[in-house]
């Protein structure tokens, strides 16, 4: 069967090319990450050496300990974790509730409210810093964890994403459930949320990324190291000179590690969730 054989060969070729392109792209993306890790393990002299070292000839791990102690990273990592987990939890709850209301409830002003929600996506974060600062200041919350968290307890993107996902839900199921005496909250948490887990998980990850990497807001609302976050600590390390480049790289690796681990663990869910949100609705 020459035609089948031909087709098979063509498939193999196509696959080979596709993988070759992907491997090259992956190398381009991963190389800086790799070099960051390598540089953390080199001595400062080796880092400035030209041509550069592509692997550590004699890795020295002490830079990590130095980064941890000198950069005060223990406290900063804890603060970042508290802030990030709280933001993610709040954003998930508020987004799910709001999206549910937009899809399954009929109430006056529903459309207008939804457009207002969408409009918040158009405002760049930098523009809201001063009004947010004034609000937090008026509440007397400067230099506290609530100051880090409060402005981010709801997310326009989350509401939008979940609404699109929930809209693909057959309304017959909702009707059947309510006939059986299933209330809104029960329906939401027993049926809607479990079915949409991929989208919710993916959004949770993105919320985590965004919160963890925040810099400007934490900088302006904190005034003591006891509530400052790891990105600020990293910036403090990056002020170091030549003689401590290895410490800076080690700090970067430490600060990026939680995100890298999460991405590896939830990569499948991330991709599935995104496409789910994109095509439904």
């Amino acid at each position: 069967m020459p035609t089948a054989d031909h087709a098979r060969r063509r498939r193999i070729w196509r696959k080979t090319i596709r993988y070759a392109v992907l491997i090259v792209a992956a190398a381009v993306v991963l190389f800086p990450v790799y070099i960051t890790v390598v540089d953390a393990l080199l001595s400062p002299q080796q880092i400035t050496h030209r041509p550069p070292f592509l692997y550590p000839p004699s890795p020295h791990w002490s830079s990590f300990a130095t980064a941890f102690s000198q950069g005060n990273l223990g406290v900063y990592l804890r603060n970042s974790a508290i802030m990030t987990l709280a933001i993610v939890a709040f954003e998930l709850v508020t987004s799910v509730l709001a999206a549910y209301a937009f899809v399954f409830l009929r109430f006056p002003g529903r459309k207008v409210l939804f457009f207002v929600t969408l409009a918040t996506l158009m405002v760049p974060g930098e523009a809201t810093i001063i009004p947010n600062y004034q609000t937090i200041n008026t509440f007397g919350l400067l230099n506290t964890f609530p100051a880090l968290i409060l402005p981010f307890v709801a997310s326009g993107i989350g509401i939008f994403l979940f609404r699109q996902a929930f809209m693909g839900f057959p309304s017959e199921v909702r009707d059947a459930a309510s006939l059986d005496g299933c209330g809104h909250l029960k329906f939401l948490f027993r049926i809607v949320v479990p079915i949409n887990r991929p989208v919710i998980g993916a959004f949770g990850l993105f919320a985590f990324l965004g919160a963890w990497n925040q810099y400007l807001w934490p900088l302006v609302v904190t005034q003591s190291n006891s509530v400052r976050t790891v990105q600020i600590g990293l910036r403090q390390l990056s002020g170091v000179s030549f003689s401590q480049f290895d410490v800076l790289f080690a700090g970067t690796v430490i600060a990026a590690a939680p995100i890298a681990i999460l991405l590896v663990l939830f990569q499948r869910q991330l991709v599935a969730g995104l496409t789910a949100g994109a095509v439904k609705g």
């Binding site: 400035t48 930098e126 001063i130 200041n137 008026t138 400067l142 302006v220 030549f242």
Partner: protein, 504 residues
């Protein structure tokens, strides 16, 4: 810089409205420093508000010598009258050795007297300090620090924020003498007759070169090029003798251009560099400016110089090029000297013998009205609501700039001392005797005459003007005709200055 500047202006507006409302009706939380009085600090009521706070705006309050005219109300001695120590905060941008030294000096101050306790808050960089300060302004005076270390060239932004007390008020009230300060350093922080800050960490652009390479090219390393004409000749010799691939590295940094204008005795903006009135347009597109960009283009075109990045990961390329022997000369800030010496001591570049020279002057001979102006940062006293915190800030500031502390500071960081007598303090004198390279930047600043050109330029749009000049230098390195690049920079800078002036 556009966004930050925008935010800053936004901050000013928000600040004025906040002072008129939030603080006025007492909703705002009370800071440790005490409640703010003064019902309204809106622009319209500024003078009234200032009078209530007992601060005095200080326009026209001169420095000693000219002082006496305006009777200042700066609350000298207020912190010592209190039974409990006054807590104050300094926002700074110092890291590593600089931070360690600052912390050491601060600890010594805290334990030296019972009245004032200083807390340091690291804001990471001058830019971040600016952002944090701007945002805090919108929350009212009580959210600001008591002292702020602020990048020298952004002085006008801080003046326009109306949130700092000129140090000349404290100086007049305290009968504090400025005679021991390096005159050209004070010159920088004086705008329209008012001294706004005291210089703290000061640096200057200097010439770095490898003495061995110069010897090899048949040049005298003990007599480095002192003019741009001589520098060009030296580079030609380095290239023609095949000593190195390039004569030198030119960082794409507008600071060099700006310093050369000052060395040539010319201003960068009108109104005497913004010192006698608010600058309305640039003057750097004059004959000297055209000469400088032409020189720049000639150096790059003939491979006499390689262009390297001004900042970021490539920011050290000009220094590394000395180490690797690609280009044995460069110009950079004197603040980098400590780092360079550390790297050289590590033994990585055994063939390099570092020489440091003054920044070469434009043309073929020095201009007697010309001189460098300072880089680095000054310390500003923030207008706070209580006399005790303002006085405490002044007491600490005096300590920071005293000769002993300035000697410690210079030793620990590589910045140059702001006091003339500091260099006679044994520890510093000995260190400079053994590493004479450190003294070059100091001598150069000390030699600078006091006039408008060497004061440096002042405009609220300084960061935009810098960006425009830097874009011009980059464009020239990419082949744009120098005069056209300079004209573009002037046009763009003019509109930036105009739009800033309209918004203030």
């Amino acid at each position: 810089m556009g966004i930050l500047e925008w935010v800053f202006i936004g901050g000013l507006r928000a600040y004025h409205s906040a002072m008129g409302h939030d603080d006025g009706d007492g909703i705002g939380p009370v800071a440790p420093g005490g409640p703010s009085h003064g019902p309204s600090f809106s622009r319209r009521n500024l003078l009234k508000g200032v009078a209530i706070a007992g601060v005095g705006l200080g326009v026209g309050a001169g420095v000693p010598g000219t002082a006496g005219a305006a009777k200042s109300k700066f609350p000298i001695g207020a912190s010592a009258k209190k039974s409990t120590p006054t807590q104050i905060t300094l926002w700074h941008s110092m890291t590593e050795n600089n931070l360690t030294t600052l912390q050491k000096i601060t600890n010594a101050f805290n334990s030296s007297q019972p009245h004032v306790k200083v807390n340091l808050l690291n804001q990471n960089s001058y830019t971040d300090t600016q952002t944090a300060y701007t945002t805090a302004l919108s929350g009212g005076q009580s959210k600001l620090p008591d002292l702020v270390q602020w990048e020298s060239e952004l002085i006008q932004l801080l003046i326009d924020s109306q949130s700092v007390v000129p140090v000349s008020q404290a100086i007049a009230a305290d009968h504090y003498s400025l005679s021991d300060f390096v005159p050209s350093m004070l010159n920088f922080f004086r705008v329209r007759g008012t001294l706004w800050a005291l210089p703290f960490n000061i640096s200057s652009q200097v010439l770095y070169y490898d003495e061995n390479a110069l010897t090899k090219a048949g040049l005298d390393p003990s007599n480095p090029p002192a003019t741009l004409t001589a520098l060009k000749k030296a580079c030609q010799k380095i290239v023609s003798t095949a000593t190195a691939k390039y004569g030198m590295s030119l960082k794409l940094d507008q600071t060099n251009f700006e310093q050369w204008m000052a060395l040539g005795g010319q201003t960068l903006v009108n109104k005497n560099n913004g010192r006698s009135g608010r600058a309305t347009k640039v003057t750097f597109d004059n004959a000297l400016g055209k000469y400088l960009v032409q020189w720049w283009a000639t150096m790059l075109k003939g491979n006499l110089a390689q262009a390297t990045a001004a900042s970021g990961t490539g920011g050290y390329d000009n220094l590394l090029a000395i180490g690797s022997g690609i280009a044995p000369i460069t110009i950079d800030t004197s603040a980098a000297l400590g780092t360079i010496l550390t790297v050289l001591q590590s033994g990585q570049y055994p063939n390099v013998k570092l020489g440091v020279g003054r920044l070469p002057v434009p043309g073929s001979k020095p201009n007697k009205h010309g001189g460098v102006y300072v880089g680095g940062a000054g310390m500003y006293i923030v207008k706070k609501s209580t006399p005790a915190t303002m006085d405490a800030a002044w007491q600490f500031l005096k300590y920071l700039v005293a000769p002993t502390q300035q000697a410690t500071w210079a030793l620990g960081t590589g910045y140059v001392p702001v006091r003339k007598s500091a260099i006679r303090i044994p520890a510093l004198a000995q260190a400079w005797a053994s590493v004479p390279q450190y003294k070059v930047a100091y001598d150069q600043i000390l030699a600078s005459p006091v006039n408008a050109a060497t004061a440096g330029y002042v405009t609220g749009a300084a960061s935009q003007v810098d960006t425009d000049l830097q874009d011009a230098l980059t464009a020239i390195s990419n082949g744009t005709p120098p005069n056209r690049a300079l004209a573009q920079a002037a046009a763009s800078a003019n509109s930036a200055i105009q739009s800033y002036n309209e918004r203030v």
